[in-house]
Symmetry: C2
Subunit: 212 residues, 2 copies
C-alpha cells in the first residue's frame, strides 16, 4: 500500500457509510454520484461529505459528481479493504474465537492466519481452518506467518504483557478489544475497539433523562 | 436502573479502563485507591481521572482516595454492567452468530435472548442455547421476550429496513454493527459500533508517514 496522509478518525469512520451508499446506488444503475446525492441517503451535510471525500485522490465533475465505479474503487482502496493484511489472534477464548469466525473481517482486508493462547485445551486445535499455537512460539511464528497485526482478545489482566510480547515479536499494529488501556509503544499503531465500553455508552443514553 | 445524567462518550469509554485497574488493585489487596494511583497504571492525567470519576455518586477521602470495593461497585453500577439488559440479535450470519457466542457480553450486562433472520437455513435453529426466529415474528416476540435492545448485524443493504422494524417492534436501543448510518429515530438510542471502520482507521495509521 502506498503511504497515506493522516486522516482524522471521525472522517475515516464516515467513509464506510459512503461506500455502502455508493455500492447500493451502483446496484440501482446510477452512473454519477454527487455528495448531494450521498447526503440524501446518509442524512449528513453535503459539504461535510465533500470535505471527507477530498482526502481521496479522485476528481469529481462540477454539478455531475463522481463516476460511480471510480468512487467505489477509490473508497475501497483508500479504506485499505482491497489489500490483505495478515493478522494473528491473541487469545482464542470467547471473543477471540468469535472474531475468528467472522468472515466479514476478511471482506474488509483482514486475514487472520493463526491464533495464540496459553490454555492447553485450546493450543493445538484448529479454528475455522486456522491453527492455534502456544503463546511461547509467537516470535518465531509472527515472522513465518508474515503477520503485521495482532488482535488482542485476552483476559484484561493479561492485556499489558501480551501487548508488549506482540510488539517485541514485530507487530506493526495492535487491535485491542480488551478494556485495558494500552499506552503508546514507539513504532506500533494501537487501535482500541472496546465493544464493552460502547455497551456502557448505550446503557447511559437509554437511561438519560436529559438528552443532549 | 435509576435515571442518569448525560455523560460525554469519551468519559464513559475511559471508565472501563479504571474499572479494570481497580479490579487488579483490589486483587493485590489495595484498600484505598486515589486518582493518582489509577493515573500511574493507565497512564492518563490524574485530574482527568478525578473529573471522570466525579460523574459517579461516590465520595473519596482527601489524600486517601476511594474505598476500593466501593469504587469497584460504583463503577460497575454506573456503567450498567450489573443489570441485565435483554437483547435480540438481528441477523445471525457470521458476525451475529459470533457475537452470540461471546460470553463476555453477558458479563457486561447484555443478555441475548434470541436471534432473528430470514434465511430458512438459520430460522428454527438454536445458537448457544438461544432460539433463532423468523424476522416476521419480531414484533410479537420482542414483547414476550421482554427485550429492549436490538443488535443489528444484518447485511448492510438490509440495515435501514431492519432498524425501522426494530423501532416499530418497540426496541428502546439499537446497537448497530453494520457500516450503514442509522439516522435518528425519536425515542430510540442508537449506538454505532463499526468494527470495520476501526479497521480502516488502523490501516490508515499503519501507512501514515506523518504521525500526528
Amino acid at each position: 500500500m502506498t503511504p497515506q496522509t493522516f486522516v482524522p478518525e471521525p472522517a475515516i469512520c464516515r467513509l464506510p457509510w459512503y461506500l455502502a451508499c455508493v455500492t447500493r446506488m451502483r446496484a440501482r444503475g446510477v452512473e454519477y454520484i454527487s455528495s448531494t446525492a450521498i447526503s440524501k441517503e446518509v442524512n449528513l451535510d453535503a459539504s461535510q461529505i465533500a470535505k471527507d471525500l477530498s482526502y481521496l485522490n479522485i476528481k469529481g465533475k462540477t454539478r455531475i459528481g463522481y463516476e460511480a465505479s471510480q468512487l467505489e474503487e477509490g473508497l475501497t482502496d483508500f479504506l485499505g479493504f482491497r489489500y490483505t493484511h495478515n493478522a494473528v489472534m491473541m487469545g482464542v477464548g470467547s471473543l477471540g474465537a468469535a472474531l475468528m469466525s467472522d468472515s466479514g473481517l476478511e471482506r474488509y482486508g483482514l486475514n487472520i492466519v493463526a491464533g495464540f493462547d496459553i490454555n492447553p485445551a485450546l493450543t493445538g486445535t484448529v479454528i475455522e481452518g486456522r491453527p492455534v499455537y502456544h503463546l511461547d512460539s509467537l516470535k518465531e511464528k509472527m515472522k513465518s506467518l508474515n503477520a503485521e497485526i495482532a488482535i488482542i482478545a485476552v483476559p484484561v489482566e493479561a492485556a499489558a504483557s501480551v501487548a508488549a510480547l506482540c510488539a517485541e515479536a514485530g507487530a506493526k499494529a495492535l487491535w485491542n478489544f480488551t478494556p485495558f488501556h494500552i499506552t503508546a509503544i514507539p513504532g506500533v499503531t494501537i487501535q482500541n475497539t472496546s465493544i464493552y465500553a460502547h455497551l456502557a455508552v448505550m446503557y447511559n443514553r437509554m437511561n438519560c433523562q436529559e438528552k443532549p
